[in-house]
Subunit: 307 residues, 2 copies
């Protein structure tokens, strides 16, 4: 291998090491908060090379379903979901590394969370290499609490500030724009951070940012789970949670780039769709009662705001 | 109006009359089979002109959720879902008329059914008009019965045969190809008929075919509902039905042209997504027991076959 090739392999290796460590820490924290269930593991191979390690926890005391997925896959050609805005990279071979995590708690007072950090490297037709980082985290409450939203966004801001004071506002807005259900004219949740195509900072700084986002996610989510997991709830709250989870399904199957990227690149379907909630309902033209906490979710929390 | 314009308006009116009558008959038959619940009605208007009449039945004795939707909408530009294979029609104003019906029975031994018949008319940039018919019906059982599949396909064949003996095999195969979940390598169900872009037969014959398909759907589905609705079932069958309904959601949000056409053309979201099942579960990497009736569904029924 030439020097460039060695540098590439080393870069991939240090990212991989961080991601596997993040996966471990995240699973550990979620098991701690749950106190009952444990993650099971599935190792799998990708049809075009590489593979992954999927970890799933179900039917816990606190967590109804959580998936924390590590993958490092190779592909012969970047799928459409990744080239729509990068047409010059169509049909280029690539590798993609990442950790994705979605947690659906049992208690409707504990919000659903999503986190993803990823690195993509593409071999262009002219022999050169193009790479970028992407990721972020966002929170989807069923019942909103101001202090949770403030804490969540404070952690998002803390993750960004070492990289420039313009970073949080930029990636916070990107998140609001991205996790938006156009067909409902609704936000998916209260947002957080989203970024993609990040390479203008150079490799080291971008990789440091990936770590900052991954680490901050744990600090953002764990206290909210701990704070809300004992909240008393009944049929009404559970039923609203089941209904609202339908929006999560709609978002992931209609819009989510990671989901579509995975399915289009012949990814491991069960690992990609681990993000789908365990129990979901759809009710025709359901509307929250006026003045109810369910209406408050729509009016106060599912609106882009400065937290 | 000139003669051409008058002919167009008359064509639309006779199609509309047929479709509203089909909607009535279909709702009547489903109410009869249910014996308890009734369809409720919602009239709505489309943002770009036209509108529709949505009918929904929920929580019946036999039918957990059924939607029978009539719509006649105008649009400024055909959406991407309709122009991917007709690029010459991109950005053309259009009108679309149709009836769509999806029925999710409560009893897992009664299959889910889908029927759609539609007519699209596009005003091309050069002032000329292009039109086509499309539609079909397909059946999604949870537990398979040979005689139901034979009856279903016999009705499909009967609908087609007056239009040529090659029609059923062609539209049956199109249905198998279309209602296919690529990411699962699975058929959605046991198929039926699917056709699109039908105008080479001329207007009268194509419209007669629309009627044949609509009418045959009632003859195909009603006897199966009547035959299976008393079948005894328990938790196990209900749980499998909830799980399998997840595939219906995946199909409709990832692939279904009607759904994507509707959402992309700013359609009425609640009417488009009435097709989504009332209660759905996702279980990570669930596999049927070897030798079970659930495995038989996959191995024997979810495989394209000559019925």
């Amino acid at each position: 291998m030439n020097n460039i090739a060695i540098i590439k392999v080393e870069a991939i290796n240090i990212i991989k090491k961080y991601l596997l460590n993040l996966q471990n820490r995240l699973c550990h924290v979620l098991e701690q908060e749950d106190g009952k269930a444990r993650f099971i593991e599935d190792k799998w191979e990708h049809t075009e090379g590489g593979g992954g390690l999927t970890r799933i926890m179900t039917d816990g005391a606190v967590i109804e379903k959580s998936g924390v997925n590590f993958s490092h896959v190779y592909g012969r050609a970047l799928p459409q979901a990744a080239t729509a805005k990068r047409p010059e990279l169509a049909n280029s071979p690539f590798q993609a590394l990442g950790v994705s995590s979605v947690t659906h708690p049992y208690n409707p007072y504990v919000p659903t969370s999503h986190m993803n950090v990823r690195f993509v490297m593409v071999e262009k037709a002219d022999g050169s290499t193009h790479w970028w980082f992407g990721g972020g985290f966002d929170l989807t409450p069923y019942y909103g609490f101001d202090e949770d939203c403030k804490h969540w966004h404070a952690m998002a801001k803390e993750a960004c500030n070492p990289f420039g004071l313009d970073v949080y506002p930029r990636f916070k807005k990107w998140c609001d724009d991205y996790f938006y259900l156009k067909h409902r004219n609704e936000q998916r949740g209260i947002g957080g951070l989203f970024y993609d195509d990040l390479n203008e900072w150079g490799f080291e700084r971008s990789f440091a940012f990936m770590q900052s986002v991954g680490n901050s996610f744990i600090k953002a989510y764990q206290p909210i789970v701990a704070q809300r997991k004992q909240h008393v709830f009944g049929e009404r709250e559970k039923s609203f949670q089941h209904y609202r989870r339908g929006r999560y399904v709609e978002y992931n199957l209609l819009y989510d780039r990671g989901t579509l990227f995975g399915l289009q690149s012949n990814g491991r379907t069960e690992s990609i769709l681990m993000s789908l909630p365990p129990v979901v309902t759809w009710k025709y033209h359901w509307q929250p009662e006026s003045g109810s906490p369910e209406e408050t979710l729509y009016k106060v929390f599912l609106v882009p705001r400065d937290w």
